[in-house]
């Protein structure tokens, strides 16, 4: 007979392993970007891993679908996308999840329930609302999840999507990844009322704040919300309080806009550190080694893939053959 404690440990191990894969993937992506092996722009997820992992661990893709933001590598991996194909996308390779057409910001992986990463702030809320509408009208018992940033809470799609979902009682969970900043601007400076979760009341919905650096807390809060959605109880607005360790994107130096000591305080609440402290050291080491190997292999595989093929015929529309 397996004890409750060991079930919980097993669950935490699973969640930690996921967070670790994301952390290592992002660290590697950062290095590739700094050496210009990844071009353009990337938005890194270190520090926020518990949000994606806590929520996605509950979902059953492809029946359930997720819309994420341009800061989407974490959600993507948490849903089960292959790291080699995500690296391939970032590197513009033919093996990329979108064959190099999308790049870091706009990944789609429907097979794993990823409706897309949305580069237009707010776009994820609207797209997921539509997925929830499809689930409701097709009676497939699917649940949709929209991840969005604190900055998106001030945007048109937030309001129109949530009102629509509430009116129609759609099976959806809106998950705010509140990392305290929209680019270089502190959330509080541009967000009236002081609480994003509290905005749920405007639509008659439950709004819940959760410690976004505690993967079990995120998972527990999300479980309730997903269950509500699946049982026709309508939308929930979940606000996960977290922090991004790196800059917003590209080469910005966060010291220009962060108060001294703020990062350090959040690093002490690193979601991975909090989880690992509750695991057996050997198990943690084992997982670390496995994850490191997986990410290194994935990168090798992506690097070996050919560049995206410009000679392949392409059309912006799908036509009957």
């Amino acid at each position: 007979m397996v004890s409750t404690a060991s079930i919980q440990t097993r669950e935490l191990e699973r969640l930690y392993a996921q967070m670790l894969r994301i952390r290592l993937f992002e660290d590697e992506a950062h290095r590739l970007f700094m050496r210009n092996e990844i071009e353009g722009s990337i938005h890194l997820y270190q520090g926020q891993e518990a949000v994606a992992v806590g929520v996605c661990s509950l979902l059953e893709p492809p029946r359930d679908v997720v819309a994420a933001t341009y800061r989407g590598h974490g959600v993507c991996l948490a849903l089960g996308s292959e790291p080699a194909r995500l690296f391939g996308e970032l590197l513009g390779r033919e093996n990329g999840l979108c064959g190099g057409r999308s790049g870091s910001m706009n990944v789609v992986d429907l097979e794993h329930g990823l409706l897309g990463c949305f580069a237009i702030v707010g776009g994820s809320l609207a797209a997921a609302t539509g997925a929830a509408l499809a689930s409701k009208l097709r009676h497939d018992r699917g649940v949709a999840v929209a991840f969005f940033g604190d900055g998106a809470a001030n945007q048109a799609y937030f309001h129109e999507s949530i009102n629509l979902a509430a009116v129609l009682g759609l099976p959806i969970v809106y998950v705010c990844e509140n990392n305290q900043y929209g680019e270089f601007t502190p959330t509080a400076a541009v967000t009236a009322g002081g609480s994003i979760a509290a905005r749920a009341a405007a639509y008659g919905l439950p709004g819940v704040v959760v410690d976004g650096n505690d993967v079990l807390a995120v998972r527990a809060a999300a479980a309730e919300a997903v269950e509500r959605a699946r049982s026709a109880g309508g939308p929930t607005l979940l606000e996960a309080q977290t922090y991004r360790h790196k800059g917003h994107s590209r080469h910005d130096d966060p010291r220009r806009y962060r108060p001294a000591g703020e990062l350090e305080a959040w690093l002490e609440r690193d979601p991975l550190a909090a989880a690992v402290a509750r695991l057996e050291p050997e198990a943690a080491e084992r997982m670390a080694a496995a994850a490191a190997r997986e990410i290194a292999d994935a990168l090798d595989e992506a690097r070996a893939a050919p560049p995206a093929d410009p000679t392949r015929p392409a059309s912006a529309t799908k036509e009957p053959s």
């Binding site: 789609v108 992986d109 409706l115 897309g116 797209a127 539509g130 129109e160 529309t317």
Partner: protein, 329 residues
């Protein structure tokens, strides 16, 4: 094989037939249950119920973007935007999400989304309810635009739009809703979007038009015929993609091109038709007949003065016929 009805009910019948045939088709919009403000969707709610015919909040951005997401996930939503003037609110969704998804996702899924909207001036609705803002949409790769000028096409092109696997905008002209004509039965084959139609043959000049401008062009052609000028009148039907072959063939034959557009003088389909024809058929004398570079005014005396009617079309043709045509090849 066909029956007579109005442009308005031709739209309704197209919707009804597709709703009947395919359970993934749903209609969303403001006040669509009751039939919509132009009464183009009457009785659909009674027939198909609240899971197929959905009244929305006044949230064009939100519900159109949601329809995009739903289209990726297996529905074939038809969205009604009450007036084309409001398309600005959904441009982000159309241009940045719906139209790009097939290509950027590397062909994981297409977006079978239809957006119906009412356009057109002449009803004294003023600057914010009279536009035909084709220019906003013409440059969006991945989007199609159809523009029915007859009841038959109101039905045929609406059905073609719904069957298309890509986002399609259907422009319905508010002054045409009352027009009567023969339309095809439910079992008629559904065309693929992209074909223009020659509505009148003629060898002296090609006149290309869409929507209400087609009627004006045909009227102008009659006037001109009385003067011995034979205009070939082409109904564009699909504004994106354009039927370049039909246009170029006609222009190569007549050696002259007039494009009529109830829209601003720049940046509309008239510019695109001119450029496409000149590229395809070689140097050609052309005229655009459009509205002046102004918002559409309310007062009858002002609005009538800006509409591109038969007299202005005929005058443009006459001035072109005064110039040498390109040598037919």
């Amino acid at each position: 094989m066909s029956y007579e009805t109005s442009y308005r009910l031709a739209v309704r019948d197209a919707l009804a037939e597709e709703l009947e045939r395919d359970s993934t088709v749903v209609l969303l919009g403001e006040d669509v249950r009751i039939g919509g403000v132009f009464n183009a969707t009457p009785e659909l709610f009674d027939r198909f119920g609240p899971e197929r015919i959905l009244d929305t909040p006044i949230s064009e951005m939100g519900f159109t973007a949601a329809a995009f997401g739903a289209a990726v996930r297996g529905l074939r939503p038809v969205v009604e935007i009450m007036f084309g003037d409001f398309l600005g609110l959904v441009l982000d969704t159309l241009a940045n999400q719906a139209a790009k998804y097939w290509y950027v996702s590397n062909e994981q899924a297409s977006v079978p989304l239809t957006v119906r909207t009412t356009v057109g001036a002449g009803a004294r609705f003023g600057a914010y309810h009279s536009q035909t803002p084709v220019g906003w949409l013409l440059g969006i790769a991945g989007l199609k635009i159809v523009a029915p000028a007859t009841p038959a096409d109101a039905k045929a092109l609406t059905k073609a739009a719904i069957r298309d696997d890509n986002p399609v905008v259907v422009l319905e002209h508010k002054l045409l809703y009352g027009r009567k004509g023969e339309v095809a039965d439910a079992d008629a084959p559904v065309e693929r979007i992209g074909a223009a139609a020659v509505r009148r043959g003629g060898g002296d000049v090609t006149v290309a038009a869409a929507l209400a401008s087609l009627e004006h062009s045909l009227t102008a052609a009659e006037l001109l015929a009385g003067e011995g000028i034979e205009a070939e009148v082409i109904d564009l039907r699909s504004l994106r993609p354009l039927d370049r072959a039909t246009l170029a063939e006609s222009a190569a034959k007549t050696g002259r091109l007039v494009v009529v557009e109830e829209g601003p003088p720049t940046g509309g389909y008239a510019a695109e038709v001119v450029a496409a024809v000149v590229e395809a058929a070689g140097p050609t004398p052309v005229r655009r007949v459009t509205m002046p570079d102004l918002p559409i005014p309310f007062a009858a005396s002002l609005e009538d003065a800006v509409l591109p009617g038969p007299d202005r079309i005929a005058a443009a043709v006459r001035s072109l016929v005064g110039e040498p045509a390109t040598v037919p090849r």
